[in-house]
Subunit: 160 residues, 2 copies
């Protein structure tokens, strides 16, 4: 969300969660409904700015007494992916709330810190143009972009 410029730093995370859920409610009017279990999965994804695995979500739900099994979680995640409410980080087999409000939110790029495990979502138009240009140079038509840079975030560099 726009206020979460440094997710590692102090920020009102309750606000992240409530705006994410509000955005989800707003998006899921009509036939695509934000049901109880989808909402629950989205809440769990938003419990931190760290990517979370499907089976972590499952464990989390089990602690709440939910009888959810893998298909429940994957169905909810697939729905949330389709709605652009979460991203999948391919290099980690994990999921993270979509923090972009832009239309191109799903062209996002990620900076993943290997120390604190935080994933910072960028939505850099320059970078996106550079990527599309590189593809175009090869006559390639791009549908989907996976851009995940791993390394050490600014906070962890300071800490070290």
């Amino acid at each position: 969300m726009d206020h979460a410029i440094t997710p590692t730093g102090q920020h009102d995370h309750a606000h992240c969660v409530s705006s994410a859920l509000a955005a989800a409610e707003a998006r899921c009017t009509g036939t695509a409904k934000l049901t109880q279990s989808r909402r629950r999965v989205l809440e769990i994804v938003w419990e931190s700015h760290r990517p979370v695995g499907a089976y972590d979500i499952l464990d989390r739900m089990a602690k709440d007494g939910s009888p959810a099994k893998p298909p429940t979680v994957y169905r909810a995640l697939n729905f949330l992916l389709e709605q652009g409410l979460v991203h999948r980080l391919e290099s980690m087999n994990a999921f993270i709330g979509c923090g972009s409000t832009s239309v191109d939110g799903h062209a996002a790029q990620f900076l993943i810190c290997r120390d604190c495990n935080m994933a910072l979502e960028l939505d850099d138009p320059t970078l996106r143009k550079a990527l599309d240009q590189a593809a175009r140079n090869s006559g390639f038509k791009v549908d989907r972009r996976v851009v995940e840079l791993s390394g050490v975030c600014a906070d962890c560099q300071k800490a070290a």
Copy 2:
């Protein structure tokens, strides 16, 4: 390899394979040896310009009568990754021969065709700079870059 500008088109693939193996021999002097099973895995990876899964490699080896089991294949793949001889495509859980001779070969970017399943390796310095600049703007130090663009390659667009 430098001659393989359009991997989908006509090209002397035997030459791809022999140069890849020659490059591997050259790189694996010293303590890091290109053993029989590592060489075999590399050959299988190079049988096409399509990414290949670890268990596909395993099946391929089984057909040759090899008693290889998953750890054998994963060990060989990890060795080849360390030596910069193959890449892992995170978005497909698959591996492909490294076709770059540059020092920065492992900063490569991939264009993956969802029709013909071909993966074209780019090594675009402009793109790499754009990626690093975007990270730097967030004070992020990059170790590893995953850039995988999926879509339709030039040949498949023509065919359609």
